[in-house]
Amino acid sequence: MAFEVPSPGVTVLFGPSGAGKSTIILAAAGLLRPDACRIEVDGQVMVDTEAGLWLSPERRRVGLVFQDARLFPHMSVATNLRFGMRRARPGTVTFDEVVELLGIGELLGRRPHTLSGGERQRVAIGRALLAQPHLLLMDEPLASLDSARKAEILPYLTRLKTALRLPVLYVTHDLDEVTRLADSMVLVEAGRVVGFGPLAEIAARADLPLALRDDAGALLHCRVAEHDPGRELTRLDAGGAEFLVPLLDLPLGREVRVRIPAREVILAGKAPEAISLHNVIAGTVRQIAGDPARRAVMVEVGLPDGALLARVTPDAIARLALSPGGPVLALIKSTSIEVLGD
């Protein structure tokens, strides 16, 4: 398997358990020594088995956040945070900045065993960041938390993402974390990389395993183009295609991510009349992939910038006479479009 990810930026490793995601993480951290492997971060080679090069984990400066925070129980939160910092050359990440970003100022004097799961994980993230890593690895950092704790941490992670210019490899199988954090994505299945690239591109591919999920759907990057308070609608511009959604409380020009679930998209040959629907989007059929388990097919509809996914029946394809390359209209209820912010 081989893949390349952008730096800085958050790349999510996504795939079923046992697919090899954690192996990738452990190899990148140096806690596992693969037989053949080459890892390079920002031009610096960490491992190259062919050249016989091996950088030990302690000299690699790759931060790792484990699923179980693994804080040192005999140290206070502050000492835990400084553990890596004291052993690294001074860098751009400062103690106060991290404490501020993660909102852990009030925990500094406490012992790890008195913290909640979410607090522990925040401290672990801070500890890894303060070791001034070249690369940050996060191995399902939120998997052991309940959804309320997850919701508590996610905003901190989004803040970190914008504040730090670092490449991050993030393992998860939670699509919510993916859509909120990822810039790009690596799909792993049975020890192989089945696809990697920018998130919007991967999410909108009808032929990748992601399209077989119940909650499959396309992601689009949009700009808030116009508010219409009279009709209580907001117009979003997705680089050529336009969407109307219920009025948003966001400034004009703001970049947002929207997710459009495949099961909410209707395909049509010509525009219907007298209908409650707002969004009739013209596109081109890019590919049609089978989904035999659901007796359905997934249609990838190309837009000027990006793509939509529509889950329909094989019968619909036949009736509309859809084939790759042909024109099609995608009908989307404005209330079905999930605006995720950024």
């Binding site: 302690e58 484990f66 040192f72 052993r87 065993h113 070791a131």
Partner: protein, 217 residues
Amino acid sequence: MTLIVAARAVSFGLPLAVAMAWLLARYRFPGRAWVNALVHLPLVLPPVVTGWLLLILFGIRGPIGSLLLAWFDVRLVFTTAGASLACAVMTFPVMVRSVRLSLEAVDPGLDQAARTLGAGRLDRLFNVTLPLASPGILVGGIVGFATCLGEFGAVITFAANIPGQTQTLPLAIYAALQVPGGEMKAAELSLVSLTLALVGLLLSEWVAKRLNVALGR
């Protein structure tokens, strides 16, 4: 007298026991089973045999004893230092055992975490593993100390029973019992012995509990 012998035995034996336990707990090397057996030998061997073996090894004509005498002018046989050595050897297995158990109980995940944070081997040992194993190490020391107080066979064989020099508490009790009318003295000494042993055991419990609280267990 007894306390000094025991204190010396523990202060020399414990660091060695920690090193040995570390070796046995973390590394797989050829002959590991033999080293392990050798360490535990004094536990199962009759103490008199241990004392006699020490006498052979460390006697002034023994392979190690003659070297010590020639190089450092140190004589162990029939001296206070010798009594400490005998005690240390006898309590070594107890200490290794206790330390090793606590080392093995330390989560290796924390060691991994420390590695990714840039801590080298010794750094991790002294700042992560040993502090986390400290309850076991302390208990090992205290129990070792208490066992030293009661050591008889190896001491009398190797260091003899010289009042004021190598006569530890149990030897003194034994000597008192040999003298007609010494029962009273023997009873007094036994009471002292009993008290010391009890205090040792209670202290180790208490220390372990305090440390475990500090470590958040």
